[in-house]
């Protein structure tokens, strides 16, 4: 078969590993979100899109549409939180929340109006992108998921799917219909014997690996990381040592959004992303996460790498069918997982 040609196979493998590495990041975020908040976070892929498109706007010296999204969500979240505080008869806190949100919003707006036209260095743009996209996570948690805290996993899943629709539409509003590609962080190729790999690919793999190590250290070594694991293992137990589920949720979604944005910036130079690419990318991260049963981080990462590889090989020989192959593959995995995972039946209402 042509696919095993010595010239082509390594290239496909490198491609597969590069996208696979990004899927792996998403898979980790998905496992984390599910473990801590029981939410199957379909919109994870939207953060990837926001990452790419935000960076692309900065490249053009434009204020990214993400700002509008951030400010609208901030307003809704602040009003909701203010309302909650009022209901608990805490008018001062309600005012504080609203004032805090107003100041934060104004600061963001001023910073971006000033910084964006200056076309700062790439690493500054990366930081600004993270600063814009990461807060979307906790804001969405506060507005969408926190009011549904006691809902079943299935209701949360439907909410996730609905949120994904909302974000896709908003991406169209804020970024327009055209897809964007961001510039590579590094140029040139690296040749080892017959093997030629672009330095960008290497960078993606290295950064992803570094991020995974950082996450590992966070979960193993820090109190905040352990607190997230604890919430995932036993919610009541976590509350009994003083960990509030909402603060765990907020931290989890910050991480998820940050990881998504970073993934978007990493994959941006390789794949052209449009406003509607998020759903599919998220799903592929999902296939990986499912391989790990939505529980195991290493298995999820490995599964996602596998998805990247399969997709890469399939896109060469059966390019039109690559989605069919990836999605059909998930069925036996789902079946296997479902039958081997001990399941406590949930009761409705």
């Amino acid at each position: 078969m042509q696919i095993f040609d010595t010239a082509i196979f390594p290239v496909l493998t490198a491609d597969g590993l590069t996208t696979g590495a990004v899927y792996a990041l998403l898979a980790l975020a998905l496992v984390l979100v599910f473990a801590v908040t029981r939410v199957i976070f379909i919109p994870q892929g939207e953060f990837v899109v926001f990452g790419t498109l935000t960076l692309a706007s900065f490249q053009l010296g434009k204020v990214p549409g993400t700002l509008g999204l951030l400010l609208s969500l901030l307003t809704v979240a602040a009003v909701m939180e203010g309302f909650t505080q009022l209901r608990q008869r805490q008018p001062r806190r309600a005012l504080l929340v609203l004032a805090g949100a107003a100041v934060t919003g104004a600061a963001y707006w001023a910073l971006l109006e000033w910084a964006a036209p200056l076309k700062p260095a790439l690493w500054v743009q990366v930081l600004l992108t993270l600063a814009l996209v990461a807060p979307l996570g906790p804001l969405l948690y506060r507005t969408v998921y926190q009011p549904l805290q006691n809902a079943t996993v299935l209701v949360l899943l439907i909410a996730s799917v609905a949120l994904s629709s909302v974000l896709t539409g908003l991406a169209l509003v804020f970024f327009g219909p055209e897809g964007s590609r961001t510039p590579a962080f590094v140029q040139g190729n690296l040749s080892v014997g017959q093997l030629t790999v672009s330095q960008q690919s290497l960078l993606v793999i290295l950064v992803s690996a570094a991020l995974m190590l950082a996450l590992y250290a966070f979960f193993e070594r820090t109190m905040a990381g352990k607190a997230l694991r604890a919430t995932a293992v036993n919610r009541l137990g976590a509350r009994l040592v003083g960990i509030s589920p909402s603060s765990a949720g907020l931290l989890t979604y910050t991480l998820a959004a940050g990881i998504g944005a970073l993934g978007g910036m990493l994959i941006g130079p390789t794949v052209a992303l449009g406003y509607d690419s998020g759903f599919l990318i998220g799903l592929k991260g999902f296939v990986g996460a499912i391989l790990g049963g939505l529980v195991s981080y290493p298995l999820a990462a490995a599964g996602a790498l596998l998805v990247g590889l399969i997709e890469s090989y399939a896109s060469f020989s059966l390019s039109a069918w690559k989605e069919v192959i990836v999605f059909t593959l998930i069925l036996p995995v789902l079946l296997w997982r479902s039958l081997t995972t001990r399941h406590i039946p949930e009761e409705d209402e």
Binding site: K226, R229, G237, A238, R239, L240, G242, I243
Partner: protein, 251 residues
């Protein structure tokens, strides 16, 4: 069916010590079912007070309501201040610890991590000394500190649950059936440990089905019968009361 008589002196006169916890007219419902109907109870500082009663009398519900795990109506005063509207996590930070019936350990994490997390509510303060203290109290936990909590035996899990609660330096510890599912010898160990806690200044509210054993270490006790306080009195007197066995075995 309810032995309504109150025994001897009212609890307030039983001890001159200030109340660490006072519960007044506490009601808790699950949907349409009222699980607690008007509980009054007082835990003086520095004492062990136990709540005993048969299965389904509402003992766990009582502790969960005091802790804020379950919503309830009525008044819960902790060191003289109402806990109304104070969320569970804030109650932990104020110095109330609950060791729940199911223990609710972090089973896939190590013993050391479980204990470390016990200090979450006061994480800005040094906690290493407390850890050493817990290990001194429970040498078994030190031996097993690298083991996953889920792999411990029942008695060790109970020790870990108590140790985790102690890491939060509680002033008031609520213990829910610490003897449940343990062999008699281990029950004895656990209850000795509870006695030790009292000596180091922790006030304890102990819920037990094992009436005789818990009365032996308590200062005062309440008998719960289907959501109401049936009997109450100094533990020694209650232990000799014939009505106690009637409340367990019917009559």
């Amino acid at each position: 069916m309810t032995v309504a008589a109150e025994m001897s002196r009212p609890p307030a006169a039983a001890s001159p010590a200030a109340a660490m916890l006072e519960v007044r007219d506490l009601h808790t419902r699950y949907g349409r079912v009222e699980a607690l109907s008007g509980i009054d109870l007082r835990v003086p500082e520095g004492q062990i007070v136990s709540v005993i009663g048969a299965n389904g009398a509402g003992k766990s519900t009582l502790l969960n309501s005091i802790m804020g795990v379950l919503p309830s109506s009525g008044e819960v005063l902790y060191r003289g201040e109402s806990l109304r509207g104070v969320p569970l996590e804030a109650r932990v930070a104020q110095g109330i610890g609950l060791v729940p019936e199911r223990r609710d350990l972090f089973s896939s994490m190590t013993v050391a991590d479980n204990l470390h997390l016990g200090a979450y509510s006061r994480r800005r303060l040094p906690w290493k000394a407390d850890l050493d203290e817990v290990y001194a109290r429970f040498p078994r936990l030190l031996e097993r500190r690298k083991q996953l909590a889920g792999t411990l035996s029942g008695g060790e899990q109970q020790m870990l649950a108590i140790g985790r609660a102690l890491m939060g330096r509680p002033k008031l510890l609520l213990l829910d059936e610490p003897s449940l599912g343990l062999a008699p010898l281990i029950v004895r160990d656990i209850l000795k440990i509870v006695q030790g806690l009292q000596q180091s200044g922790v006030t304890v509210l102990l819920v037990e089905q094992n009436a005789r054993a818990s009365l032996a270490i308590s200062d005062y006790a309440y008998v719960l019968e289907t959501g109401q306080v049936g009997l109450s009195g100094p533990a020694g007197e209650l232990a000799r009361d014939e009505r106690l066995s009637a409340s367990y075995l019917g009559g």
